[in-house]
Amino acid sequence: MEVFKSHKVYNILEKGKIFFALSIIAFFAAIVLVFTKGLSFGIDFAGGTVVQVKYQGAAPIDDVRSRLSKNELFSKATVTPFGNEGEIVIKSPSTNSNIQNDTSDIVKKLLDGSGKFEIRKVDMVGPKVGDELRKKGLTAFLLALGVILLSVTVRYEFRFALAGVIALLHDIVITIGAISLFEIDVNLETIAAILTILGYSIHDTIIVFDRVREYVQESKENDFKQIINEAVSRTLARTMLTSLTVFFVILMLYIFGGEIMHGFSFPMLIGVLIGSYSSVFVAAQLVIWTGFDVKKYRAKMAEKQKREKEKDKLRAMYEQGRV
């Protein structure tokens, strides 16, 4: 089977102008969204309590609510159905640090008599731990960005790295905007998803940049725009197919992995789409804007080669004892 057959070189840069404008709009819309609507931090970062209870038969949600409201720990709690019938999730911003009369004991006592139930999960994160986790998450994110910038600079060129990282930020910011829009709870697994998108998106971009570098080095084409169009067109099949396979498997995680996985799989679904889109329409466009010059680059490479050759010559002479 073949979907991308032709040798045609698409004028991505020309067509991409509309997309690029769209990207800028989406980018700033996401920032506005995060600052106005905000993110709903889950208990991992905000601290709080989540209790998952499964009833045999239908869960008496109203009864549960009125019973919980009697206790200070759950005075601000929300009770919502979760997944299957009979299963509910209780979320409260308060925490209880007493080890001998802890959250499980309190819930058990409060719900005693409301039906046959089983407490399946209790997550409690105190305010101190929440602070720590938030700091760690942010550090990890910034470090990962730094490492990517560095490794792309070493292997390619600083301007490529800059373009790659800006494209990356574009992906991450828009994904975070979507998380805000769909009111996904931000927990540890959401951070894992965002860091994975970071890795995936730079991976996509590197594949395109690799082609650009190849054409810069090997073809005689002097028009950088033409080189980029060719590189993006040639990698288009791969970009589409890989996003498809990755999208497939994450979709399976989303469908079958249960609600527990949604904090991970949902941001991933969005991130994969945006990551692939940006490696086609955004990243390469950005390299042009950073002022990459094909002729200068080639001259520099030639210079470098010359120097290496001279060094080799000198070394050879030295080894033969002529210097």
Binding site: M1, E2, V3, H7, N96, S97, N98, I99, Q100, D102, T103, S104, D105, K108, I119, R120, K121, V122, M124, G126, K128, K136, A140, A144, V147, I148, S151, V152, L188, E189, A192, L195, T196, G199, Y200, I202, H203, I206, I207, E214, R238, L241, T242, L244, T245, V246, F247, F248, V249, I250, M252, L253, I255, F256, G257, G258, I260, M261, F264, M268
Partner: protein
Amino acid sequence: MKQFNYRLFIFAAAFLFGILFSMPTILQTSWGKKINLGLDLQGGLHMVLGVKTDVAIESRAKSIATSLKFLMDENDIIYDELAIKGNSITFELLDNDDIAKLKGLVSKDIQGVSLKENGLKFTVTLTAEEIAKTKQNAISQAVETIRNRLDMYGLAEPTVAKQGEDKVLVEIAGVKTGADEERIRDLIAKSAHLQMMAVDEARAARVATMSAEEAATFGDVILKDVATSQLYLLKDVPILDGSMLTDASVGYNQSNQPVINFELNSQGAKIFGDFSGKSVGKRMAIVLDNKVYSAPVINERIGGGKGQISGNFTQQEAHDIAIALRSGALLAPVVIEEKRSIGPSLGADSINASLMALIFGFLAVVIFMAVYYGAAGVIADIAVIVNIFLIVALMSLFGATLTLPGMAGIVLTIGIAVDSNIIINERVREALRGGMSVKKAINDGYSNGMRAILDSNITQILACTILYAYGTGAIKGFALTLSIGILASMLTAILGTHGIYDILLSKIEKTKNYNFWFGLEGK
């Protein structure tokens, strides 16, 4: 002569390795190393406990005050208004001549304090080093004590470790019911502070009307009986405490009620014997965690250093208290700062859900590749299968822990691993369309594809390393499986598939059916 196909050889070796070492985990055999399931998959209790070190510092100050009091009394130094406030002790001397004597005593016999004077008023403060040392002690002692208690309770491999600066991580797998969990938490939290205290018989009659402040002026405390709530007036400085205990076990009294028998070390036995000899006819209270369990009248000198705690214990309570006593007291109380408790049924549900995702994700990718790339897709699929075996085998060998995010990492690996083959296959197709020979097309595809794949895989593994270093618990599992998956995919998807093409090359050249081999239509 045919060249040795080292690629295929390595691939086959990796395949055998993968099959062999993943078997114990997949078939759950009784032999071999297996993957451990994380708490989120098998159910269990994860707690991060905070240690209230300020309490330990206060009690350190208290014990320094006790020795100071003892020293001053012994050396006939007259003082007044001895009081403890946080980590400092204040008092006033009445005689100028005692100043030099006091300074000498403090510098000789009491360590870790600084002495400040203001006329005749003195303040003894714990030094910063002493405070830090006391904190450290309290934490390492908490780790030690909790570990001992859980070990004695008979739990399978609990994890108890110091986390960060002042926290204790406790992880226990296989906690089956809520009642089990409650019992474990109780056991961890028990201070198990055992004291033998003398009843202040001179003032005991007035206990009902006495305030705690008034009691303090006599150097007494008022404590309640654990069962009857009767009040006792006790001397604040205990006769001896649990630090002199050598053993505690469950026994039965005459009416067949569970009791706790304990034994003291030789020093404790001597103190106990001396005191009981001097105090015949008086009462001595056995106090556990500031509750009086009994206060029998001493009939005769008690030698041998044995004693008994009786209360209306159930068998289970007596058992747990004995464990707590044997493992030693907690210097400072602990509080829960983070708790994640997962029931076993939820763990089983999570395994099923993630296995479903794995199977369907796998099928979707495998079928897609075979349809789109023909034989080349099937070859890539073989690589993916070997990749999954390799991940399982490597994790089994390292005894790694598989968590729910770890499962997500494996699922994601399937999507990412075929990417290498997509890149290479697209390159090969491009070369074939351009009219290159099969042999050259394949070699070109691999050498060109390699560069980009290496670049991006290295970047991804770097990102995973950071995730592993800064992630907590379950997130580490995700970073681990994803990195193992990426590393394994370099072996299987790049080297392995290349090896397969090496043996198929002559066949492909003979048939020239590129539609069958590479899914290229019309060629």
